[in-house]
């Protein structure tokens, strides 16, 4: 699952997928020609009635939801990881640790779709609230649980001697964590965090269940208007893929930079 393939191989496979898409299009187009031809279908899907707007709005919402829920997940996840780590290392914060563990169990033990539905139709039921913020809260709360465990694992992956060396110099717990442990942990967890971001991006595709027009829902709406499934869905898939490939490229660059330092 972790994206450990190199930049080049990601690019190569991306080009391969594009080529495959073109090939399938050419094979499928004669069959489609009976009722108007491939070019016409693309015209129907994208141009007529400005349908491309569904995909644009959808992509915009998908990116907004992913970005802000990742921020929320990082903030909340870090807090949970701190509580869990302080408890494990110093035996303090017993009650908070219990709450955190309960939270992780519930969030990781139930499907994110159910969480989204509960947050929209139960928790925000009586409040008039925009859909995008609801989705951000739902996905943010969900990814916080996974990010918390990633961060905790990262902290645990730093050798114990590093912590002891900091302590033996008289550095308080917090300073040891911030200056010695966390910078080393970040390097270790960056691939996993990147992976979480990518999982999150794809998970937001269920936002349509609360009536939100994300990228997937945008493609779905076009399909329902044109009765043509192939082009909108493949396009949606390609857009997701493109975003993921671009994100992966930048994270790889960051990783190389971190490894050099």
């Amino acid at each position: 699952m972790v994206l450990e393939f190199s930049k080049k191989s990601v690019l190569r496979s991306f080009i391969l997928v594009l080529a495959a898409f073109l090939l399938i299009s050419i094979i499928v187009s004669p069959a489609a020609a009976a009722d108007g031809g491939f070019i016409d279908k693309i015209y129907d899907t994208l141009i007529e009635d400005d349908r491309y707007q569904y995909l644009l709005t959808g992509l915009q919402n998908t990116l907004i939801i992913t970005f802000f829920s990742l921020i929320l997940g990082l903030v909340l996840g870090s807090l949970i990881a701190v509580v869990r780590t302080v408890h494990d290392m110093k035996g303090k914060l017993k009650l908070l640790n219990l709450i955190a563990r309960g939270y992780l169990t519930v969030i990781r033990g139930t499907p994110v779709l159910i969480q989204l539905l509960i947050i929209y139709f139960v928790i925000f039921a009586s409040v008039d609230v925009a859909l995008v913020p609801v989705a951000i809260v739902a996905f943010g709360l969900n990814s916080a649980a996974y990010i918390a465990e990633i961060i905790r694992a990262g902290i645990n992956s730093v050798p114990k001697g590093q912590f002891e060396a900091g302590s033996s110099l008289g550095l308080p717990f917090a300073i040891t964590m911030i200056t010695i442990i966390i910078p080393q942990a970040i390097k270790n967890i960056l691939p996993a965090l990147c992976n979480e971001g990518i999982v999150l991006l794809k998970e937001t595709s269920i936002s349509g269940y609360i009536g939100l027009v994300d990228l997937t829902k945008g493609g779905d709406i076009i399909r329902s208007q044109t009765f043509e499934a192939f082009i909108p869905y493949i396009l949606v898939a390609l857009i997701y893929l493109t975003v993921v490939v671009i994100l992966t490229y930048f994270v790889k660059k960051l990783e190389v930079k971190l490894n050099a330092s």
């Binding site: 050798p159 001697g161 590093q162 002891e164 060396a165 900091g166 302590s167 033996s168 110099l169 008289g170 550095l171 308080p172 300073i175 200056t179 010695i180 910078p183 080393q184 390097k187 330092s261």
Partner: protein
């Protein structure tokens, strides 16, 4: 024990158990300023646990440790403040790989506001010069040999101007040809009057440098003596057996 010595560390009935396994079963001793103590014993005897208790990396389950008259096992004592005065050197060096050599040395004095950045930088340069590694100031620890790393770990502790230095098997992780450079730095340190407690397997070093040698076995100090007596006339039968194996 030097007769004129001021008592620096006093250990009374120190106990430490990990679950049901009692590793330290009542250690009593006194260490004076300027003394160099070597601690030897078979593996698993509790000598490292004893040393690590002295700065509370291991929290004792019983007894007292008075450091400069303050009982550091008392929960109300700010242990971080005490640790500023107790340097420690580890078997695995434990330099911080996310910092340069110089940043390693400057971190604690600057963060704890003991020195300004300029003072700490000057001090780091001085210490690096002393061990002949000034040219490695901007290197990463990973780029250095084990012997160089350990010597930097030692001066990183020295930068805090500690009153005592604890060494936990400082040469055990080193390639044989690097042991000498670390021991010679430690010898310099001893000659400069630093109080030192050294858990070690280097019997030659213990004999040459230590003022007293402790033999820890089964969680207690079974024999302590001057190195001459310790090695020439061991009294405890377990010590005799131990020395016959290691010498």
């Amino acid at each position: 024990m030097p007769a004129n010595g001021k008592v620096l560390i006093e250990v009374k009935g120190l106990r430490k158990a990990f679950g049901d396994n009692e590793v330290l079963k009542g250690i009593d001793t006194t260490v004076c300023e300027g003394e160099v103590i070597a601690i030897v014993g078979p593996s698993g005897c509790g000598k490292s646990t004893f040393l690590r208790s002295l700065n509370l990396l291991e929290v004792p389950t019983g007894g007292q440790i008075l450091f400069e008259g303050v009982d550091i096992t008392d929960k109300s004592v700010n242990i971080n403040k005490m640790r500023e005065k107790i340097g420690m050197v580890f078997q695995q060096f434990n330099l911080f790989p996310n910092m340069t050599v110089k940043e390693n040395i400057m971190l604690a004095p600057v963060r704890l506001k003991i020195m300004s950045k300029e003072e700490a930088s000057k001090k780091a340069d001085e210490l690096l010069k002393r061990i002949g590694l000034l040219d490695k100031a901007d290197a990463r620890p990973q780029q250095l040999s084990g012997g160089q790393q350990q010597r930097i770990a030692i001066i990183r502790s020295l930068a805090m101007n500690p009153d005592v230095m604890l060494f936990d098997e400082p040469t055990s992780a080193l390639d044989p040809e690097m042991v000498g450079e670390v021991l010679s730095l430690m010898k310099d340190l001893a000659e400069s009057g630093m109080t030192m407690m050294i858990v070690t397997h280097e019997m030659g070093f213990a004999r040459e440098v230590a003022d007293r040698v402790f033999f820890i076995n089964d969680g207690v100090i079974q024999e302590e003596n001057t190195p001459q007596e310790f090695f020439a006339n061991p009294k405890n039968p377990r010590l005799k057996e131990f020395l016959s194996k290691v010498l």
